[in-house]
């Protein structure tokens, strides 16, 4: 009689094997019921166990398929003073345990089994392996003779009892954690490790070597999809010989020649053993013939990151030759956990890499900015009878505007203005090189066209190699003869304003770096009394206002004409033009560098 028996202080175990069919399930459930009644479980509890057990076994029968139906279900019931545990071990393909177990629609005729199991038991876990699954269910025994205490529920005793209960639960959980999951400590160790070591390859190598030990495998290959590519490239392997060639994703509709690609495309595990041998022409077959194992796709959410292949020699293991298990359900579960963990670590490493390169870009821009600033001379040489001023304002992203003024002798200067098309350090470097080349050819400073030809020849190989070019304008000014010789390499026109009006000069010439042998032309310009000369970059005419309109050339020329009427020195004109530009661009973000040289005299 159940009423006469008491819970045994030790665990008592019942083991049963039953054929995989519904009729056997009911009989087995009755045997279990009898056994648990002897262990002093109460009728209500017995009924709940009965139902949970039947539901669990029925599920195994339901998902058995042809192969599973002829294999037995093993049942283990462990009754203890504090709890009962059921282990249902089947050899069927099993099913996916849903993330959330809810009741189906009220008029659905199925789908309540798992809900009943989880409602009736305290904890339920399902480990799905290949043709082998383990469902465990636990239920705690209510504390014997528990009667609602008459005193306040907040009494000290009550708290102490609750505390003891909680402690008991916690200690059970700790025990389970430490004993069941070897992988857990490894993962904790590695997650602190991965924060320090930036090398994903080394990290994966160590992690997977450990996994080999835990799941009793002999070799592994970890393949990842490199960013922006559509192939699987080996990141780590258990031995150097296994670092195989990358696998390219097949065009849609074509079967893949490798199991790794098959797992990647289907996003499902691909097993290989004696019954389903490796593809004859697959790279794995060549590297590790006669192996059994599995390819596990590495997924982060919906995103495919790569594949993890684990294997062992089948011929040394007679049970594998006979079609035994390659990995048990527990081992498969550990592989799954490791693969999930790897996916997170890979995503993390990639994120850090991106952060790093973003910082690098910012740093590069700072360097480029510094180079550009250092190129601009701070005090301009002056000519008798003329005043000269220069202006350069950088947009946020460093372009390659620069100007230079070379003193040739007492009464002549070379004015240089240029715009390197490109950004960052390369643009700044080319500006620096151009400046040096111009300064290194004193014999040509009074022949701007010849100087441009020489510079173009020298710079062409480097510029064309990186798809960059430079527009430049050189103006040789002779104050004694009041003459100016200008040559242009695809640059904005030079403007001269006097009482006669504004004239622009743009001698023919391609930008530097377009063709190796470009011819440039000198044009000589008379400088009338009280004239203004303006050299500028397209940042001025392409200045944008708040409505999104370009300033254009005409307003600039109109301003220059007005400026020639006043009798101001260059420095004041510079400030005036800078102010005009600022007004035009009010409430906008500077989109290009703005540079000009202005001469008055």
């Amino acid at each position: 009689m159940p009423g006469n028996s008491a819970a045994s202080p030790r665990s008592v175990i019942l083991r049963l094997s039953l054929a995989c069919n519904l009729a056997e399930v009911r009989i087995a459930a009755q045997t279990v019921r009898g056994f648990l009644a002897e262990q002093a479980w109460l009728p209500d509890e017995l009924m709940a166990f009965d139902l949970a057990l039947v539901e669990a076994c029925n599920n195994a029968v339901k998902y058995a398929g042809e192969s599973g139906a002829c294999q037995p279900i093993h049942l283990e019931v462990i009754s203890e003073a504090s709890q009962v545990e059921f282990r249902i071990h089947d050899h069927t393909p099993g099913f996916d345990w849903p993330e959330k177990i809810e009741l189906p629609e009220p008029d659905s005729e199925s789908g309540r089994g798992l809900y009943l199991i989880t409602s009736l038991m305290d904890s339920v876990s399902y480990f799905r392996g290949r043709e082998e699954n383990l469902l465990t269910m636990r239920k705690a025994r209510p504390v014997q003779g528990e009667v609602a205490p008459p005193e306040s529920p907040y009494s000290l005793e009550n708290y102490a009892r609750k505390l003891a209960e909680n402690e008991h639960v916690i200690s059970e959980m700790v025990e389970e954690l430490s004993s069941c999951y070897e992988s857990l400590s490894a993962i904790f160790r590695y997650s602190t490790d991965s924060g320090k070591a930036g090398n994903l390859k080394e990290f994966a190598q160590r992690l997977l070597q450990d996994l080999l030990q835990i799941v009793d495998a002999e070799w592994f290959i970890l393949r990842l999809i490199p960013k922006g590519e559509s192939k699987l490239t080996v990141l780590a392997a258990s031995e150097p010989a296994m670092e195989l060639e990358p696998l390219t994703f097949p065009t849609t509709g074509k079967p893949s020649a490798s199991m790794e690609m098959e797992a990647a495309v289907s996003r499902q595990r691909v097993w290989f053993d004696a019954q389903r041998p490796m593809l004859a022409d697959g790279p794995l077959k060549k590297a590790k013939p006669g192996s059994a194992g599995l390819v596990h796709p590495i997924l982060l959410g919906d995103q495919l990151m790569g594949t993890l292949t684990l294997g062992k020699a089948a011929f040394q293991n007679p049970s594998l030759v006979d079609g035994g298990l390659v990995f048990t359900a527990g081992q498969t579960n550990v592989i799954n956990t490791f693969a999930d963990f790897l996916a997170i670590q890979i995503a993390n490493a990639r994120f850090q890499e991106e952060q790093f390169s973003r910082r690098l870009v910012t740093h590069e821009l700072e360097i480029a900015n510094n180079i550009q600033r250092s190129l601009l001379i701070t005090s301009l040489p002056q000519l008798p009878g003329f005043s000269l001023a220069a202006f350069c304002r950088s947009a946020h992203e460093v372009g390659g505007d620069f100007y230079d003024v070379l003193k040739i002798n007492e009464h002549s200067l070379l004015l240089v203005i240029a715009d390197v098309m490109g950004k960052g350090i390369p643009a700044a470097m080319f500006a620096a090189i151009l400046r040096t080349l111009l300064r290194a050819s004193p014999e040509l400073t009074h022949q701007p066209a010849a100087l441009l030809e020489r510079v173009n020849r020298l710079l062409f190989p480097e510029l064309s190699g990186v798809d960059m070019f430079i527009t430049a304008q050189l103006a040789f000014v002779d104050a004694k003869d009041r003459k100016l010789t200008v040559a242009s390499a695809g640059h904005c026109p030079l403007a001269v304003a006097s009482a006669a009006g504004v004239k622009t000069f743009s001698p023919e010439g391609m930008p530097l770096g377009i063709l190796p042998d470009t011819t440039f032309h000198d044009e000589t310009v008379e400088l009338p009394e009280n004239c203004r000369v303006l050299l500028y970059t397209d940042g001025l005419t392409e200045a944008l206002n708040a409505e999104g309109h370009y300033l254009g050339q005409q307003p600039l020329m109109d301003w220059l004409k007005r400026a020639s009427a006043s009798n101001q020195p260059a420095e004041q004109l510079k400030q005036e033009l800078a102010l005009e530009l600022e007004k035009y661009q009010a409430n906008t973000v500077l989109n290009d560098d703005q540079t000009f040289l202005i001469m008055s005299g």
């Binding site: 039947v54 659905s108 009736l120």
Partner: protein, 100 residues
């Protein structure tokens, strides 16, 4: 299992259990017993010691049958254990559960 017809109602009693092993059979027999006259089914659960999710599915299937005839399924005197399962799965919202 016993079935008798009382006017518009099919009465089923002496059901020992309603689970995966017998529920399809139970459903087919009940449906076969219905003539054009009956629109209601009354199931006496006073002797039912076991009801699982397949048994619940069968009850819902019969519920749909009676609905199509503008009738209903009434569950009589369920044992406490069965009553608990019915409540746990919210079946008491679909069926009329009667204690006489």
């Amino acid at each position: 299992m016993k079935m008798q017809i009382q006017g518009e109602t099919l009465r089923i009693s002496e059901v020992k259990e309603l689970g995966a092993a017998n529920s399809n059979d139970f459903r087919d027999k009940a449906r076969a017993a219905l003539t054009g006259e009956q629109k209601n089914i009354e199931i006496d659960l006073s002797q039912t010691m076991f009801l699982d999710s397949c048994g619940l599915g069968t009850l819902i299937s019969l519920h749909k049958t009676t609905c199509s005839r503008n009738g209903m399924v009434r569950l009589l005197n369920p044992t406490p254990g069965v009553q608990q399962i019915l409540e746990l799965t919210r079946m008491h919202r679909i069926f009329e559960i009667v204690k006489i």
